[in-house]
Symmetry: C2
Subunit: 454 residues, 2 copies
């Protein structure tokens, strides 16, 4: 861990990373070749061209670190159920409703805290190696999940799931108790290590009663916490919901006051114009999950229209049981491809806009302008990308670097990753997780869960 801040003095030492290129992803579209990122403790203090920094900074000692390749902000994965590495490749080729009811939920009812710890730990090693430094996690056994994130040196918005699984929850009182449990969890762990934020994740409008959703939304608003929900994922779900309630889920939730706080709506594939207007009015952010929506045949969300309306959008891999990896680079490229198919426009979602979704856009979707960007004041979450690859050839102008990152770049080119200023991946190897141990644990536990579900 050569780059941890030096101890002993009052203020942390400044580390000055000199890179062949810096892509700040700050909305400017600029590429600094070469570039400098300065980090003090867990925070970025300066980003600029290389030639501008030759002196000491503010009287504090400066240590120089040479980075081969390009520095980018760590990617932000805004919709994930990472511990589901335990269920990777389980129940393939089923549509969402059958997959949930026949395969997933019967196994999830048997999950233990330790299962979730190891599922999340294996996932964290994958995510970090891919350059994904923040995930927004919707899952159960939130203490174990948080332990794993803390231990892996990663960053997460942990939004504990609210859902009555067969055998683990039922009755009206259960909803209230579960909500209180998350409020207590928030008190206990929100802000831990500066890397954990806590929110709420009631599963969906078709699985959690609307009055319960309103109660949870009120609790979330009281804590200024993220309210994270699956919304309008499949056409069948939306048709059923409208038939039962006489209106769409977004309309009903808006009327019930559910959408008044910090709301993140995952999927949002099947929305009417009126639904989109509701998102716009309530500043609902979207977690766009193109690979999950394609693999499960849910459809293609109207991404271009979201962006035209100024709706905040980030990218999510969804869980590794429906994706099946946690590689956000693939989502960047796929988001552009399915947008072009949907819009019949080869100019829809240019490379810069696609990269923005996985970086700054993801941070903004979470209400976190300090994530997914390299700028003074942002979190020091970064990745170094190897530019010595045919993927970046030819490179005729600086701006082309962004085209290449999106269209021929890949997670395989990520060499080093830092979270909150600490290096967690070096030369492609995760420094914080014993991957062999985690793999063995997940294998054993996955086998037990399949057997337990019969």
């Amino acid at each position: 861990m050569p780059d941890s801040p030096g101890g002993g003095t009052g203020a942390p030492a400044t580390l000055r990373y000199r890179a062949d290129a810096v892509v700040p992803c700050d909305g400017s579209g600029r590429v600094l070749r070469p570039g400098v990122v300065e980090v003090s403790g867990s925070t970025v203090t300066y980003v600029g061209p290389d030639d501008s920094r030759t002196t000491e900074t503010g009287g504090h000692p400066v240590r120089e670190v040479r980075v081969t390749g390009a520095l980018l902000p760590g990617l932000v994965n805004v919709h994930c159920h990472s511990p589901m590495t335990l269920f990777r490749g389980s129940g393939e080729n089923l549509p969402l409703d059958r997959w949930l009811k026949e395969v997933l939920w019967p196994q999830e009812a048997h999950l233990t805290q330790e299962d979730v710890y190891w599922g999340m730990t294996l996932a964290a090693s994958e995510l970090l190696c891919f350059g994904v430094t923040t995930t927004c996690e919707a899952y159960f056994h939130e203490d174990a999940l948080t332990d794993a994130v803390v231990d892996a040196g990663s960053r997460a918005v942990v939004t504990p799931g609210v859902l009555q699984l067969p055998g683990t929850g039922s009755g009206d009182d259960w909803w209230e108790a579960r909500t209180a449990e998350i409020v207590a969890f928030h008190g206990r762990r929100h802000g831990q290590e500066g890397r954990i934020e806590v929110g709420f994740a009631p599963h969906a409008a078709y699985t959690v009663p609307v009055p319960v959703l309103a109660d949870i939304a009120r609790a979330a608003r009281g804590l200024d916490a993220l309210f994270h929900i699956h919304l309008a994922e499949t056409e069948a779900e939306c048709t059923l919901f409208a038939a039962e309630h006489g209106q769409s889920a977004p309309a009903l939730l808006a009327a019930a006051g559910v959408l008044d706080g910090r709301v993140l709506a995952a999927h949002s594939v099947w929305l009417s114009d009126e639904d989109m207007a509701i998102y716009e009015r309530h500043d609902v952010a979207v977690a766009h999950c193109p690979q999950s929506n394609a693999k499960l045949a849910s459809g293609v969300a109207p991404l271009v229209e979201f962006l035209a309306r100024g709706i905040r959008v980030g990218l999510g891999t969804d869980g590794p049981a429906s994706n099946n990896d946690l590689d956000l680079w693939e989502e960047i490229r796929l988001a552009a491809m399915v947008a072009r198919i949907r819009e019949k426009d080869a100019g829809a979602l240019p490379a810069g806009a696609a990269l923005d979704l996985a970086t700054r856009g993801g941070g903004l979707a979470l209400g976190r302008p300090d994530l997914g960007v390299l700028a003074a004041g942002s979190q020091a979450d970064m990745m170094a990308v190897d530019l010595d690859s045919p993927a970046f050839v030819p490179l005729l102008e600086d701006g082309q670097l962004i085209e290449h990152l999106v269209w021929s770049g890949s997670s395989r080119l990520v060499t080093d990753v830092w979270v909150a200023g600490t290096r967690v991946v070096e030369n492609g190897r995760c420094l914080t997780v014993d991957v062999e141990r985690a793999s063995a644990e997940v294998n054993t536990r996955a086998r037990r869960l399949v057997q337990a579900a019969g």
Copy 2:
């Protein structure tokens, strides 16, 4: 090159590769864990479970090679213009017709043999590292292209392009001369090193007159050579063609006798039922290019219907200017995803069927049952895939290996690659190409071409 066949004796020594798993991709869906592949010279002589091979083979000496991970056949990329690495990231965000006319063709008119050699060489290093051992190449300056393939130790079906570019070809005689040139090229290079096959690639029905296509098809049939053409790629192209000719391109080509030989139709996105019936009757094979078709907003080809009709289908990356890499792993996964979007069916194109397209299916689409498969008599083109990755966790049954290869596998897991029995990639490093030199050449030449085109 530790695994090249030992010289000196009359018959080549047999190499017995013992791998943690062998996925033969022979249509059986089986996974051998552990497994054995035996290779004599450039040919596979035996594939089976590990425990079945303990003795000498046919009196010849046997050398054992231990392979960590899974052995699969090398992937087959059935539609590519690999030297277009020279144009990677050039003219982004344009639809196909404007991209061809405004960006690409003006530069291609200035190409030299040396440009094509270096463009192909850089591409070959990428392809081999991704485990792609065969490409079907449609391009110009075919001698230089072939030199590069031979030098890189790769395998190609080289189908020289026939197209009048501004400044390089015009007039009726030109077509005849160009066809004669390809016939002579076939005589000169077909079969070279056992790794080069020669065919013909007239560009498209909307750029080459139908009588010329008929002449080329006749020449191809005379040599039993592949006739490789772009067909029904964009909706606009098909609408224009029908307005001008009163029928679809497949119908007109069938009537003109163009589809009577070994025909490979790239793209084939916009086909009517009658067009598909023509493909079926004429045994026309399809090069399905999902990423190129998505990126350029051309659409999604009716893959599931092709397969239901028994039409042969392989996967193509298309050229690196419209993809932008040559990673066939991405095409496998994308083929399944866009098929599911198109069919609204989460069970469309299961993993095994998707993998088949890039292996055995690709070989069959080229009329080459000896490619894309590990079986006695097939070419010894293989790749080793690292199984010590979270991508393969959990692994609860052998068959799940195929799900994982498709849904969480990636080119980054390819460690070693062999073509015709010779190792060309070792621990992720291409042994046959000086990648640094090739990158520098492509950078310089790309810059010159942009300037030349003004």
